[in-house]
Amino acid sequence: MISNTFGWIGRKTIRFFAHVTNISYLGWDILYWIFVGPWVGRPLRWRNVIQEMDDLGARSFPLIGTMSVSLGTVIIVIIGPQFQAFGIPDYVPELVTVFLVRELSPLLTGVVLAGRVGSMVTARLGTMVTDDEVLALEVMAIEPVEYLMVPKFIATVVMLPCLTILADLIGMTTSLIIATFGLDLPFQSYLDGVLGACTLTDVTFSLFKSVIFGIVIILVSCYQGVNTEGGAEEVGSATMVSVVTCTISVILLNGFMTIMFYL
């Protein structure tokens, strides 16, 4: 029983590191096509990048917007009255800003994109693999990593920080409106509090986290997609594994980076 358990843990650990190694190789391959490709006659496909930015990023805006409005409302509604009761309403904007900018906006934007990008990219690539479309690219002397994955990589890594900034702005604007009209906090002092609390370090840290989330999400999604074998059922399984892996990775990485930042 014990040896079985250790065996199971050992196998899972080996498989985990094999996946991490393969994902790293895929990452290097993508970086090669971004930074070296244009010098060896393979310019970046900006038209495809913009199309992917629209597909993977801009179309996520309604979801991110709704989430941010809800987030800004919930935080101010919970924190505001408590701080007012303790007679320290001046700390409300600072706390809301730190929560939103440093933690909640990058984390939740990452989680939302993990679901949306993870499912979309893995399902698309997985279907292309099972329908022999990726093989068709290879036999036409077209590099699948360069043609399919590089535009998705650039689009995700650029759009996730952009969406995080939008989430910050929408969340803080919502909290400002609720604080002013719902909790009777003075507009000007709340705004000054928000602007005073929002430091460059916070914004930089938030964007740094978003970029890391974007890299992890797109690499995991592409990896799961191109390693799909079989048919519709396997594409579904790969998509599910991709979304779960991306979401867990974003949550764990967020915790790790926040601890490192505060320590």
Binding site: D132, E133, L135, A136, E138, V139, I142, Y147
Partner: protein
């Protein structure tokens, strides 16, 4: 033109190719026939370098496919076209864009020249009126014709066909067979055809090879194979379920396997 020597490939415990040797002459149509799961499609993938053999050599137009790295392999791939069993067209782009893809990616031709070539290729397969259709709007026979137009877009010296007539109605199947013959006669394209359609292959092939359990059992002209007294060749050419080529276990073997399983 194409020479394969001692090719072997194993997936897990399954030996797919077993010391396979075959030579395909320039300008000829070579048809490889054999049962399902006999390794024919794997063999085609090896010819384009998409699957590496465990041992053996593949020479295509003087280049050692088995030993080439990606860049050199792509140079050889540009001389080849492949028609996949399910056409493997890109579903999100139009017929014209599908046919244009190898030209756009592998040449510096002007857009207007590409458009003319695409029209010519679609004319050759009789689908010039369908250039703005999406692949999903076409029948499977028409999709395969588009796949053929894409396969010949770069005017390849060699075209590989993976079961081009499988699952098609007799008229569509004979239209594709006729096109393969025409391309061979008019353009001098060397063709390798993997098929279960014995009569279709007999009509158009210059040379036929019967593949069974990863080996070439017999080869020769279609007339030689049809007239062969060899029981295995006769069985396959005449579609007889009983004979030396076993498609299922005999009653004795089945009983023995059951008995062993019970023990």
């Amino acid at each position: 033109m194409i020479r394969v020597q001692g090719l072997s490939k194993t997936f897990g415990n399954l030996k797919v190719l077993d010391d396979l040797s075959l030579t395909c002459s320039k300008g000829e149509i070579t048809a490889i026939i054999g049962g399902s799961g006999g390794g024919k499609s794997t063999f085609l993938k090896m010819l384009v370098g998409a699957v590496k053999p465990d041992s053996g050599e593949i020479w295509v137009d003087g280049s050692p496919i088995h030993a080439l790295e990606d860049l050199a392999l792509n140079d050889v791939r540009r001389k080849m076209g492949v028609l996949f069993q399910q056409a493997a067209l890109f579903k999100s782009i139009t017929v014209a864009e599908n046919v244009a893809l190898p030209l756009v990616e592998n040449t510096d031709l002007d857009e207007s020249v590409v458009a003319i070539i695409v029209k010519m290729k679609l004319d050759q397969v009789g689908l010039s009126d369908f250039d703005q259709y999406l692949p999903s709007q076409l029948s499977s026979g028409m999709q395969r014709l588009v796949g053929l137009a894409r396969a010949i877009a770069l005017d390849p010296k060699i075209v590989l066909y993976d079961a081009p007539t499988a699952g098609l109605d007799p008229i569509a199947a004979s239209a594709i067979s006729k096109l393969i013959k025409d391309l061979n006669q008019v353009l001098g394209i060397t063709s390798i055809l993997v098929t279960h359609d014995i009569m279709g292959a007999v009509e158009i092939a210059d040379h036929m090879a019967l593949m069974y359990q990863g080996r070439i059992l017999h080869q020769g002209s279609p007339e030689e194979l049809l007239a062969s007294p060899e029981p295995s060749v006769r069985q396959f050419m005449h579609g007889d379920p009983d004979g030396p080529i076993q498609f299922r276990k005999s009653r004795e073997e089945y009983e023995k396997a059951l008995f062993e399983e019970a023990q």
